[in-house]
């Protein structure tokens, strides 16, 4: 065939069915194939790449013997012991930033690559469409990181989620305060400070609802607009009301402004909790870390306790990528770990058996490297033991301080702030 413009242009059309169909031919016989949908290109690519690197590390640890990581399932032996040591093979696909692409990916993984289960897909929208395909085909789908509440409200039989979502975070703060209250510290009056963005309002409302349902209602609600230039009125209000604990739901610039204004007005709440986002930002620590000593924050991952599973996994991840393991990557890895563990316990690659094994999952904190209270799914597929750790700022690092069993440092109260 002469190479002309016509033949060059015809190539993609002629080759496409062959390419689209070809992957079917190369099915490795003994490996257990799992499909992973993550955003590997587009605006979410850096997060997707981290998740992928974490999963690559995890699969490597599963496929080779690592007795030093023994409490974590599947680490001690090579491969999946109850499947004759079969290796796990991940087929990665790029969900981009598009629910339609994630849908295509899931369909291709199921019908062409014949994966036994699916994992992913980072963005809640991508998870939604990809898991809907899995549901139609009766293939288990385990999600480790998407937080949209509606994902587990669809009545799906094949969808499981390991990550903590809004109510779990609210419960974490309230449990923490209740536990601190038992040591004699006053925690009766709690204030919530939040911006009026969707993030601020939804987290604040969830905390208020959960608190009300426990008969320990939130005493005070202070709101402000995002990226405001002045919060002195809000700080003054807090100073006058003098709550025992304040929970801030703020983005970085507002969190910084609050710390500066509180210093200017000489106000220190006895317990100060920041909800992840603004307070976890390295630029927060850089800007006002010296004014914020003893700030409490939450994180599902904390590698600061020497000898813990988290510290070991963190060290391996650093060796592989040169970066510290972050919360989201840790959550993605946990989703995949739970899936592999279920396949092993099922002792089979039959979807129904894997689903049954997932439903029966019961992992303890000692078997995990995240700050979860364990993994156990309810009828909707949500992990009822999903939680996080309370971490406290000491110098320039956050260290886990609660629950005590997973703590790397001792909780220091009251809030020290500046010296």
């Amino acid at each position: 065939m002469p190479v002309t413009r016509r033949t060059v242009l015809a190539l993609p059309v002629l080759a496409a069915p062959a390419i689209l169909g070809a992957r079917e031919a190369f099915a490795a016989p003994s490996a257990v194939k799992i499909g992973a949908v993550y955003p590997l290109t587009g605006p979410m690519a850096s997060a997707g790449d981290s998740s992928r690197a974490g999963i690559e590390l995890l699969i490597d640890l599963i496929n080779t013997p690592h007795p030093e990581l023994a409490p974590i399932p599947l680490m001690a032996e090579a491969g999946l012991p109850r499947l004759g040591g079969a290796k796990v093979e991940i087929v990665y696909t790029d969900g981009q930033n598009s629910p339609a692409v994630a849908q295509s990916d899931a369909l291709r993984l199921i019908t062409q690559d014949h994966v036994v289960a699916l994992n992913g897909a980072y963005q809640s929208g991508n998870t939604l469409t990809a898991s809907a395909v899995a549901e139609r085909y009766g293939i288990p789908f385990v999600n480790g990181e998407s937080v949209a509440a509606n994902l587990t409200e669809r009545g799906y039989k094949w969808f499981f989620r390991t990550t903590p979502i809004g109510p779990d975070i609210a419960a974490l703060y309230l449990d923490f305060l209740a536990s601190v209250g038992k040591t004699g510290v006053k925690v009766a009056k709690v204030a919530v400070v939040h911006d009026t963005s969707e993030y601020g309002v939804s987290v604040a409302n969830t905390i208020k609802q959960v608190a009300a349902s426990r008969q320990t209602p939130i005493a005070m609600d202070v709101s402000y607009t995002v990226s405001t230039s002045d919060v002195s009125a809000q700080v003054l209000k807090l100073k006058q009301a003098a709550p025992d604990a304040v929970i801030f739901i703020s983005y970085t610039s507002d969190a910084i402004l609050y710390m500066k204004t509180m210093q200017a007005q000489g106000y220190k709440p006895p317990i100060l909790i920041g909800d992840d986002s603004g307070f976890s930002d390295p630029s927060f620590i850089k800007a006002v870390g010296n004014l914020s000593q003893g700030v409490l924050d939450r994180s599902a991952f904390d590698g600061s306790k020497p000898g813990s599973n988290a510290a070991k996994i963190d060290a391996l991840y650093r060796k592989k990528t040169g970066r510290a393991l972050d919360d989201t990557t840790g959550r993605s890895m946990t989703g995949m770990l739970v899936l592999c563990d279920a396949i092993d316990r099922a002792g089979s690659t039959e979807p129904e058996k894997i689903r049954a094994a997932l439903s029966a999952t019961n992992l303890t904190p000692a078997q995990l490297f995240m700050g979860y209270k364990g993994v156990k799914f309810d009828a909707k597929g949500q992990n009822v033991l999903a939680s996080a750790l309370m971490v406290q700022l000491d110098g320039t690092d956050y260290r886990s301080v609660w629950p005590a069993a997973q703590a790397a440092a001792k909780l220091v109260l009251p809030f020290k702030g500046w010296s």
Binding site: V13, A16, P17, L20, T41, G125, N150
Partner: protein, 320 residues
Amino acid sequence: MKKRHLLFVVLGILVLAWPLVLHGVFIQHVAALLVLAAISASAWNIVGGYGGQVSIGHAMFFGAGAYGALAAYTDFGWPPVAGVPLGIIAALLIAVLVGLPTFRLQGHYFSMATIAAVELLRILLSNVSVLGASVGLMGPARPRGLADLSFRSPVPYYYLFLAVLALLLVVTAWMERSRLGFYLRAIRGGERGARSLGVPVVRTKLIALMISAGFTALAGGLYALMVGFIDPESGFGLLISVKMVIIAALGGAGTLWGPLVGAAILIPLEESTNALFGGSGTGATYVVYGAIIVLISRFLPGGIAELVQLLSVKARRRAA
């Protein structure tokens, strides 16, 4: 002419019958995506191709259609398909509201104004809670009945999309021969000249935009039926608009079959590069995809339609 008719009949039978013979689910899915892309590119083609008004904001109509379908489900519990007409009405309103002021602009300025309009809508929408705000809307998690048009197999979608595409092609073919089509081509040739010959420029452009918007919204509604989820980015994102333009331009903007040819090349290309290279995470999908677009715009700026024309002229010369 007889030979050409025969070709069309054979092609038509192939297009209709192949899913009954080939059972690869993923290939069927890609075929449905291909027809869907052909619908939105053909809809864009009416105003962008024939009229030469290069809109890079057609996602506003696509998004309106998709949101109409899923808002009807989320807010009223209707089957999504019942919301498609609502989406089309919204798209027509947007077309008038955006068209009247922006049609005063010409060339690049018109394109830029359409980009601004669609971005504005996308950001506005992120704050409207009845439309799911930044989280988006989802369709029925599992079909409640046939009316939800939620199928496991891609084949029903394929035929549904094909029927809509056929309707759109008939409308376009009619328009090509009608006064509207001649007016549009005159406007593309030069707006001042067209006006001096008595073409009602603004009215013509507006009618074309409304036809185009209606069908683009229909494509958006069909997308929502099949994908079952829409958020501001996947409905009103810039890439959605750009893809329509690329497909139409690749096949040949301002021709009846151009957008179809463009979709038939680009969608399988996109899906197969993503299948082959997507998992590597290196972005090779876009490199291959982009390289082909660059090659075509370098060697065939008029699209594939131009090549076909060139070849048929050559063949006729050889025959003579």
